[in-house]
Symmetry: C3
Subunit: 345 residues, 3 copies
């Protein structure tokens, strides 16, 4: 595939500065660009690369003022990052998706299958599972009894989905994800082994959710563990029984959410954060990486630390933490001096 | 299945307040209850739901004093939570377990198989493995050479068990668990790639252990990594080589235990805790989430923080941490004032 | 296999104290030794075991001065730990590696296969994948399109390798590892579900790398995520898109590295450490467990804490953290006393 600057600018609604006929065949980062590649510049931090890049075409924001001359052809758009993402997606879509049901898969006769689906080698679809249209199920996947997977969802190799789970439309679920394992529930019994509390609920994943590799989402004890529409979960995240993650909330890798906690919509949650159980996090909350959240958080709060406090407070206190040995000496000195005054007096 | 309040009360040894003939067909949380469902109330925090629930029957503790009238039928028992767990288990057991050996599994001719077992599609049982009676091995599981899996144990889809591991009776092992991978052992060699130390030990998991999804338990360098009877491990936990976890100890998700550390019995360990290697943790120790444990801990200690200190101390110090910028200013002010006195003097 | 002390000493270039004819058939830890086993003592902390062990032969450092008489035969070598590791490796190599292509595997006709390889049951090799010589691919592995796996590499059961990934020579990849999953990249869109940024880069793993169970390594957005020669990654680690890990760097379990961060060579990184994105860590850096790294670190630095500071500073400040409630009281007292002076004055 070859595209001219003119063709790309027309598609993106952008304006060209430079050679309208220059052609590209691939994409690259601006600092790694070469002949016939297209790049973008969104973060002003990287503006220097614009003047040295070997990329043939660079997408930039409409309002960017150039500091120097450039060697490449520029296409100005409203949001260079988004425009680039759109191009990437086109590029991706141009790859042919697999289709058909591999003869070395195992499909129960009571499973229901949509149109134009792919089921890969050594994958298993159990009794009463329902697979929607255009679903891609890569090899070695396990889809348990009564599971539903709705239209246009992609499930990568080796995902395990326990019985009764529901997966929405347009979801992407990466390798090694486990959906619907038992919640961690036991009735303690002194001096004996603890009694397992059967976990009879399920997991519901709504539309447009993406779940990263090896993340685990436990089924509810009763009722449902719910990942709301448009939420994005990174790798190696733990979602316990009866948790609810709000719409469009982002969670970075290795964060853990304990049982029955509800997180609001449009939150940004850093990596390695831990949430206590049975708490409620508001909407549009931002939580710094490695924070520990012991209690409820209000809408719009921005916090960090273990236990988490206001972000600015955390940053200021962290600076003083570094000085603590010194401060302690000063307190000891002050005490001594005051005692000497007492004597003098 | 339909059950009357009378039938349930007889089974649990409970006493009824209300309609002995009311029937239930399912179970639910008290706040989500509907017609013909049974719920329970154990935590006084949720007592309000008792007066508003739509559940038909609610199990409560024998000694609970009602504040208002209720609409539902009550069954009073010694421990409402345990009674409910017992009912849940009955409910669960009423589901038919799979049985038989799938013809698309791979069983070595030198493996030994017990009675009434299930081996699912695309599962593999290697040479000299021994599978006990009533064992359920779900699809896509790997059971390596010389592995033993004792009676009544359930292994969910996709578990990987390396050679020589031993799994006890009545264990539950969830999807994505890896048992017996190599310990992280290398002999450093300056300026060259480090030399791998072969890991020739194994993993022993005793009876009644449950292990959550995607948890990893490494084999011992020599000897055994041991998970003792009745221990319960949540999801995404890391157990390094030669670790020993004591009887009935609970470990919450994403905790990591470094090589050769021994944890006692009846401990409660929060999520995302990290243990240094070669240390010893006593019995009945409680450790708050996200703690870092650099050294030995005595029996019965209750700790939190990185490095972990006494829990109450941690909580008090955390309050002062928040005030540090202010305290620093006060110290600076005190210093100034004292210096002025000096001048005056 | 039986070996005399003489044979072992000759092989290691060691000198014998005791019975040159004593024979061993296995290996064990010094504190668990028995008749006909060989052990080693490297850490002076465990020297007491030397005088009580039941092992028949113990490897010790050439310069160790005995405090008491021993019952075993000693072999003195320059480095007892390394010598033992060498013997372990021989022991390991004496086990016969599997070979051949299982007939219940699935190999694309356009895949290229080297000599003397093993491909296990239910494993899949996709189109245009290239497998080198002496590669061991255990059961239930997925090797995606265009993946290369170079000579002498071992891939344990259930590993998933997405398309376009490159794996070097002599690597060891443990069960449940996911290589090449999509990076966590979305273009936020207020009030709508966020737009996925297609991830069109790949993962490159150089020679002599070991990767622990259930670790995840995401593909680059563009370009490559790179694990350099000789790096060793423990279990459950998260490596985000476009990260680079330097040569011979060790990373302990459950650490997470955010997008585009570069870590230098010969670093030692503890468990549960978190790295922010887009930062650069120098060579020979040491980072304590559970640290949070928000910004660049220079060559040779030794740090701990969240945010990480100089290790000694962290340890001193942690001691004062414990004393904070007390220090606060002292500040309040000092203030009161000073105010009383003011009044008096």
């Amino acid at each position: 595939m070859r595209f001219t600057a003119q063709k790309i600018a027309d598609f993106l609604g952008g304006s060209i500065e430079g050679n309208v006929d220059v052609e590209v065949t691939g994409i690259s980062k601006i600092e790694e660009g070469g002949n016939e590649t297209l790049s973008f510049l969104a973060n002003p931090k990287y503006e220097n690369f614009l003047y040295t890049t070997n990329s043939s075409i660079v997408l930039i924001n409409r309002n960017l003022k150039l500091q120097k001359a450039v060697n490449c052809t520029l296409i100005r758009v409203d949001d260079a990052y988004k425009a680039f993402a759109t191009l990437l997606e086109l590029y991706q879509q141009s790859k042919v998706a697999p289709v058909g049901i591999d003869k070395m898969s195992s499909i129960d006769t009571k499973a229901s299958l949509g149109k134009d689906i792919y089921i890969g080698t050594f994958s298993i679809i159990c009794k009463n599972a329902k697979i929607g249209n255009n679903v891609l199920i890569y090899p070695q996947v396990y889809v348990g009894e009564n599971v539903t997977v709705d239209d246009n969802t992609t499930i990568f190799p080796g995902v395990k989905i326990y019985s009764d789970s529901q997966i929405g439309k347009n979801c992407v679920i990466h390798s090694g994800v486990v959906i619907g394992g038992d919640g961690f529930g036991f009735a303690p019994q002194t001096g004996q082994d603890h009694q397992k509390v059967p976990q009879v609920g399920n997991v519901i994943i709504e539309d447009n959710v993406e779940i990263g590799s090896n993340t685990t989402i436990d089924r509810a004890t009763m009722g449902s563990t719910i990942i709301r529409k448009g939420a994005k979960l990174d790798n190696l995240i733990q979602i316990a029984h009866n948790v609810e993650i709000g719409e469009r909330t982002f969670i970075a890798a290795q964060t853990g959410v304990s049982g029955s906690t509800k997180i609001g919509k449009d939150c940004l949650i850093g990596g390695q954060v831990g949430f206590a159980g049975h708490i409620t996090i508001g909407d549009e909350v931002k939580i710094g990486a490695q924070s520990g959240i012991p209690s409820n958080i209000k809408n719009g709060a921005v916090v960090q630390g273990t236990p988490a406090i206001d972000l600015i407070n955390f940053q200021k206190s962290s600076i003083v933490f570094k000085l603590l040995p010194e401060l302690r000496k000063e307190i000891i000195n002050l005490k001594k001096e005051l005692e000497e005054y007492k004597k003098d007096k």
